[in-house]
């Protein structure tokens, strides 16, 4: 029978650079997260069924009574960029929940005793959630197509919009990663994230144009990130003035990346 412990002086290890380890370890954790997701159908349900219900409800129930504000533009073409955003925004909550689980379940004790890269749990979580978000967005594009969603620009602009969306999803998820780490449990992380998401997603221009809103709400939606992103995505998918809204969105993404990511990484360093 093979010996269980090694009498050798040096441990049997594949030598890599520090960065090499960081990447390899993050990939391993992302692999583990994706495996886990594939075996928890409720997470897949939550991240796919819910946006599909939104598409159907808004498209067929409310759609008829919402004026897009752009003459001749079908509501479904206005709606879908908002649904894409809603999908990744709520996906960000799962990042926090997953991270809270990672840090509060027994497994973190093992991770802390392994010679793995310290950043791996956070980086792996961000990576696996990017993969999940990408999958859900592709699914939503297909669902949108089935209910009549069409782009008015070109494929290049559409792909740029999806890239912008995914970049936003990563930066935005770091807010909820922070909440996940600050929360004592994954349930608390969910409870803490929801009001913030509601304020950002439901009180936004994701589903209805700002024109019908009271002035103070319009002012809020001129600056809040979800509405700013919605404007940029619509510009890229529907057309019209593009440079300014996209720049505004990029500024939000860079701003989140520069301000929130270091705070979250720092919190993670102390928590992990």
């Amino acid at each position: 029978m093979a010996a269980v412990t090694a009498p050798a002086v040096a441990p049997l290890i594949e030598r890599k650079s520090k960065l090499g380890y960081a990447v390899a370890d993050a990939l391993t954790i992302a692999w583990r997260n994706l495996k886990g997701m594939s075996r928890t159908p409720e997470i897949i349900m939550f991240s796919t069924i819910q946006p599909i219900i939104f598409v159907l409800t808004f498209r067929y129930v409310f759609g008829g009574s919402i004026d897009t504000g752009i003459p001749g533009l079908p509501y479904v073409d206005f709606l879908m960029p908002g649904v894409f955003l809603q999908t990744v925004a709520f996906g960000a909550m799962n990042t926090g929940i997953g991270l809270a689980d990672d840090l509060h379940k027994g497994l973190i004790e093992r991770f802390r005793s392994l010679p793995m890269s310290r950043s791996a749990v956070l980086a792996g979580r961000a990576l696996s959630d990017l993969v999940r978000n990408s999958g859900v967005v592709v699914l939503m594009v297909a669902v949108g197509y089935l209910v009549g969603f069409r782009i008015h620009t070109n494929v290049g602009a559409f792909l740029a919009a999806l890239l912008l969306l995914l970049a936003f999803s990563v930066a935005f998820s770091f807010i909820f990663a922070y909440i996940g780490m600050a929360a004592p449990s994954s349930e608390a992380a969910q409870a803490g994230s929801f009001p913030i998401l509601a304020l950002l997603v439901f009180a936004s221009t994701a589903f209805a144009p700002a024109e019908g809103m009271p002035g103070w709400l319009q002012a809020y939606n001129d600056v809040q990130p979800v509405s700013v992103m919605a404007k940029a995505l619509r510009a890229l998918m529907i057309g019209g003035e593009t440079a300014a809204p996209v720049l505004h969105a990029v500024l939000w993404i860079v701003g989140l990346a520069v301000v929130v990511m270091p705070i979250t990484v720092n919190k993670y360093r102390r928590a992990a």
């Binding site: 029978m1 093979a2 010996a3 269980v4 412990t5 090694a6 009498p7 441990p11 049997l12 290890i13 594949e14 890599k16 380890y21 390899a24 370890d25 391993t28 692999w31 583990r32 495996k35 886990g36 075996r39 928890t40 027994g106 497994l107 973190i108 004790e109 093992r110 991770f111 802390r112 005793s113 392994l114 010679p115 793995m116 791996a120």
Partner: protein, 317 residues
């Protein structure tokens, strides 16, 4: 090269006002087993977490194979395996995937990881369940998977925190056998337990801790000799002889009446000569015992005389 595999000097940990560990010294030579014995809240887990780099000591130092746990944590982590008090396995991964994950995270050569996982599943008797998610495992299977995960990277120094707590007697026996095999392979092992029997069976040396500090140490037999007394128990045919027998045997050693009101217990140091002495005196006085028993001290007796409370006194659940 005669440096101990595990060394702790003045190790301390405070959590705010709580002094969880106070000035603990340990030295575990390579290839030996140290049993860390103590009741709930004694500080066992805290000591293990400091020596496995999970917690920074508040004071003092610890080294593993010469590497400092506080400043050389990567070198330490490459060389240790930990099976903590609560099994740290990923419920959504299969047993095999759990081991593969640990193999990757300990940076084992890619080609060998899958084979290693299979070998460990075999060895720990969970090969049949190897491709089922760990959430379907029984408590004993989780423990074994956890232990297997601690061994993926062939660590030279192993920490097992209460490895058999929560297992049924058969499961415990099975795990003991596995641990004995590891030791036979030459692992250095630090094992914590609340079970005196377990320390007695598995450990070369035992360190007894209570309230965060070391209160006794030695081999099991040293501890027994030092602190426990052998008890000679005489059960009398006629309970009315009890008081006469008690005063008679008082000259052999301190006596007590048994709870059953039919026996006299004599504490002695060396059982052989004492038994002869007891028999001779009883015979001379014409007192007939129905039975005569010699009871060696259990480690429980040792613990009781050390701490004034039984090892399992404040056990929850």
């Amino acid at each position: 090269m005669e440096q101990p595999a595990i060394l702790a000097e003045g190790l301390e940990k405070r959590f705010g006002d709580v002094a969880a560990v106070v000035g603990v010294d340990l030295a575990v030579p390579e290839g030996t087993v140290l049993g860390l014995l103590g009741p709930n809240g004694a500080g066992k887990t805290t000591i293990v977490r400091m020596l496995t780099t999970i917690l920074k000591p508040s004071a003092g130092k610890g080294t593993i194979l010469g590497f400092d746990v506080a400043t050389q944590s990567d070198e330490v982590r490459e060389r240790i395996g930990l099976a903590g008090q609560y099994a740290a396995v990923d419920d959504n991964l299969t047993g095999r995937e759990n081991l593969i994950m640990v193999g990757r995270l300990t940076h084992q050569p890619r080609g060998g990881i899958v084979a290693r996982a299979g070998e460990l599943l075999e060895r720990f008797g969970i090969a049949d369940a190897g491709d089922r998610p760990a959430k379907t495992y029984s408590g004993g299977m989780r423990r074994r998977l956890d232990l297997a995960a601690a061994l993926v990277h062939r660590p030279r120094v192993l920490f097992l925190d209460e490895p058999t707590t929560g297992l049924d007697p058969a499961g415990r026996l099975e795990l003991w056998t596995v641990i004995e095999e590891l030791v036979a392979d030459g692992a250095t092992l630090l094992l914590t337990t609340q079970y005196l029997e377990e320390a007695d069976r598995l450990a070369d040396r035992i360190v007894v801790i209570d309230h965060g500090g070391v209160i006794a140490q030695g081999t099991a037999s040293e501890l027994k000799r030092e602190l426990g007394n052998t008890i000679v128990e005489v059960v009398l045919a006629d309970p009315s002889d009890l008081d006469a027998a008690k005063s008679l045997l008082g000259e052999v050693g301190p006596t007590d009446l048994g709870d059953d009101r039919r026996s006299v217990q004599v504490k002695v140091l060396d059982s052989g000569p004492a038994v002869l002495d007891v028999v001779r005196r009883l015979d001379e006085a014409g007192l007939a015992p129905t039975s005569l028993k010699v009871r060696e001290p259990s480690l429980d007796d040792v613990f009781l005389s050390l701490t004034g409370h039984s090892a399992t006194d404040d056990e929850e659940t």
